[in-house]
């Protein structure tokens, strides 16, 4: 099987070891990093995304593919600067203060990571200051907030305001989600975006970065 075909198949099957081998091989064959990324890893994960949309793949399948892709990215990341590949856009994500619901937020984090982002996961019960600090420290492009309680939803507004106050408004986009969160609510609090589920969140993040 040609190398790229094998690489793509390995990502689809979620075979981390095989992905590493293929990427190593490609590197020693002097294939440009950009090519490995775009025509190999990203192409593969897009196929996985399609399969998920058609219900051929389930969430665990997608997450395995994502992990396999991440293993590949880790190998090529050191060469990004030397080639003309921009560094991965960074995303800060957390469940807001007062809220310890974790699963949905982690799923979003994994899906976003699977789509070629570097994710800084702050965990649960995260106060506004920590969102702001983290966005600033990592120069994150996107700040993602999850809330599963109607009682903690208002904190999202506080975080958006705190980001503005910190002068980060134009530099970071904000996205909100979680079972009780609606598009309408996102609009009201001035969030840049909303998604009802994890794949949608990743989709939107990609759109934003593509410009």
């Amino acid at each position: 099987m040609p190398l790229f075909e094998k690489l793509i198949e390995s990502v689809i099957q979620g075979e981390e070891g095989s992905v590493r081998e293929c990427v190593q091989q490609a590197l020693s064959d002097h294939i440009p990093v950009k090519e490995i990324l775009n025509d190999g890893l990203i192409k593969a994960i897009n196929i996985v995304g399609e399969k998920f949309k058609k219900s051929e793949f389930y969430v665990p399948d997608v997450l395995w593919s994502a992990q396999a892709m991440k293993a590949g990215i880790e190998l090529i990341q050191p060469f990004f600067q030397k080639s003309d590949v921009p560094p991965l856009a960074k995303v800060v994500i957390g469940t807001v203060e007062g809220d310890i619901h974790e699963i949905g937020k982690n799923l979003v984090a994994m899906m976003v990571e699977a789509n070629g982002f570097e994710v800084i996961n702050l965990g649960v019960d995260v106060p506004p200051e920590r969102f702001v600090e983290s966005v600033r420290a990592h120069q994150a492009k996107i700040c993602m907030m999850s809330a599963l309680l109607t009682t903690t939803m208002p904190t999202m507004k506080k975080i958006i305001e705190a980001l503005k106050e910190a002068g980060l408004a134009g530099r970071v986009k904000t996205m909100v989600g979680g079972a009780p969160v609606t598009k309408q609510f996102a609009l009201e609090i001035g969030a840049d975006g909303y998604s009802p589920d994890a794949p949608g969140a990743a989709e939107l993040a990609k759109e934003w970065i593509a410009g």
Binding site: V59, I100, D125, T151, A179, D197
Partner: protein, 489 residues
């Protein structure tokens, strides 16, 4: 006839054999002893250390099996629950089955418009009235989330609404120990004082550990508060197999059981003999939509196993039924409610909540409560079974009527038809013409009609004025002390 022949046949069901129960129990003990549980509260850690638990790392503690067994033994095997007026109404334990409502639903499937909207305090009032009126509903709960009330007072106002609109026992949640302590003060006012509330509790607090294998600070503080005051607490995890627990049902059951039993240990160490209702829910996360499934078949299997385990432990056990993943009151809602109520009843869970839940724990529907009440009634008829005594076989009557006769006019038909034959309240048994004449209504329409009628006509017994006044005062004080503060999570 054989000696010791029991003439009453009662259908029951269990999923685990005694050997299988022991297998899961041993696996649970191994998880507690080797993997341990994460305790996010200093007082909780201290208490377990003193009880002989090893600190595995930082806040993960390993619980020795002796301590688990000891706590199972010290917890009461039966808990008497009263109503607001001090009458005995629920004996939680054994295979007594009681049904009631759930808490905290963000949306309401509106009775009049048939569409979804955000829940408000009036929906809590409506749920209380509905539960109060329906005889098959044994206990009430907020059902809706009062989103028109300031956050820190939400659960306090809900509790007041429940007190004012029903005399039935109250199953309730709180945001933290902060508002819980106000709610307990309110309950003391209703009962008379702290001692009388302890003696005749008409309320059960509901708090939960976090899967996998964690106890939040807030959950432990609520657990301890109830233990100290002798208030019955329902401390039970909701695990999602494949996400917050193993994907296999046996693995999910084992982990959830370890969470529940570590709660029993914490509780009994804090106050030996204090009342606790235990058990767990171990359902699946849907692997396509990544939602928490409320109406799936695995939910029923794991819950039947849970009930078998807690019957074996001799501890009162919690349950969930009458709930659905459907987003409106439709055929799916009916199907999932029926299966769950049937299995919950036959397995013999004690405190079965969530009747009327839709949309995977996000939507409340009063009409679904009414439907649930009829399913409960139906299923309880099944569970009552029938008698095979000589009189019931009715040999004499059979001889008397003989071939070709009719049984309609016999004395036994007249005397026994009411007790032998179950009667539906809202289900259709009319002939086609009669059905047309009555407006060709669907079951859903009739039940919705009934739900509306209850809200219009049912008058719950009010609280005495003096009590109401004292509650108002407590709430005023709480407004000052709780507004704007951050609760511990």
């Amino acid at each position: 006839m054989a000696i010791g022949f029991k003439s009453q046949c009662v259908p029951t069901y269990r999923v685990l054999t005694e050997d299988q129960i022991k297998e899961i129990h041993l696996a649970t003990l191994e998880v507690l002893e080797k993997v341990g549980v994460r305790i996010l509260d200093e007082e909780g850690i201290q208490l377990l250390k003193e009880a002989g638990c090893q600190v595995k790392n930082e806040n993960v503690l390993q619980i020795p099996r002796g301590l688990v067994e000891e706590s199972i033994h010290s917890a009461p095997s039966s808990i008497q629950i009263y109503n607001r007026k001090g009458n005995e109404v629920m004996q939680l334990g054994g295979d007594h089955v009681y049904f009631g409502l759930g808490t905290d639903l963000i949306y309401t499937y509106d009775l009049k418009t048939g569409s979804l909207r955000r829940s408000c305090l009036q929906d809590v009032v409506n749920a209380a009235k509905t539960g109060d009126c329906l005889e098959e509903i044994d206990f009430i709960a907020s059902f809706a989330l009062a989103q028109d009330v300031p956050t820190n007072l939400m659960y306090i106002e809900c509790f007041k609404a429940l007190l004012e609109n029903s005399i039935k026992p109250i199953f309730f949640t709180a945001a933290g120990a902060e508002d819980l302590s106000v709610i307990l003060q309110m309950a003391e006012v209703v009962a008379g004082d702290e001692a009388r509330l302890r003696e005749k509790p008409f309320l059960i607090h509901y708090s939960e550990p976090t899967s996998p294998l964690s106890h939040s600070k807030s959950a432990i503080r609520k657990l301890f508060l109830c233990a100290d005051k002798g208030i019955p607490i329902n401390y039970t995890p909701a695990l999602l197999a494949g996400a917050t627990g193993p994907v296999t049902l046996a693995g999910a059951i084992t982990v959830a059981n370890a969470e529940a039993l570590s709660g029993v240990v914490l509780h009994q160490r804090r106050a030996k003999g204090a009342p606790i209702i235990s058990g767990f829910v171990a359902t699946t996360m849907d692997m396509l939509t990544s939602t928490a499934v409320y109406g799936g078949p695995e939910f029923r299997l794991t819950h039947s196993a849970c009930t078998d385990l807690y019957h074996y432990y001799g501890l009162p056990v919690w349950g969930t039924a009458g709930a659905s993943d459907a987003h409106c009151f439709d055929q799916q809602a009916a199907m999932e409610a029926t299966f769950s109520i049937l299995m919950g009843t036959l397995e013999g869970a004690n405190l079965i909540h969530d009747v009327g839940y839709l949309g995977q724990g996000l939507i409340g529907s009063p009409a679904t409560i009414v439907m649930g009440s009829e399913i409960i009634s139906y299923v309880k008829r099944i569970r009552r079974g029938f008698d095979i005594s000589q009189e019931q076989i009715a040999m004499e009557v059979i001889q008397k009527v003989g071939p070709g006769g009719n049984f309609l006019t016999t004395e036994s038909t007249r005397r026994l038809h009411r007790q032998e034959h179950w009667r539906p309240k809202y289900m259709n048994r009319d002939n086609p013409d009669m059905w047309k004449e009555k407006g060709s209504k669907t079951y859903g329409e009739r039940v919705t009609q009934k739900a509306l009628e209850i809200l219009e006509t049912h008058r719950p017994e009010p609280l005495p004025d003096s009590v109401r006044q004292k509650l108002e005062e407590l709430i005023k004080k709480a407004e000052k002390s709780l507004m704007g503060i951050k609760f511990v999570v």
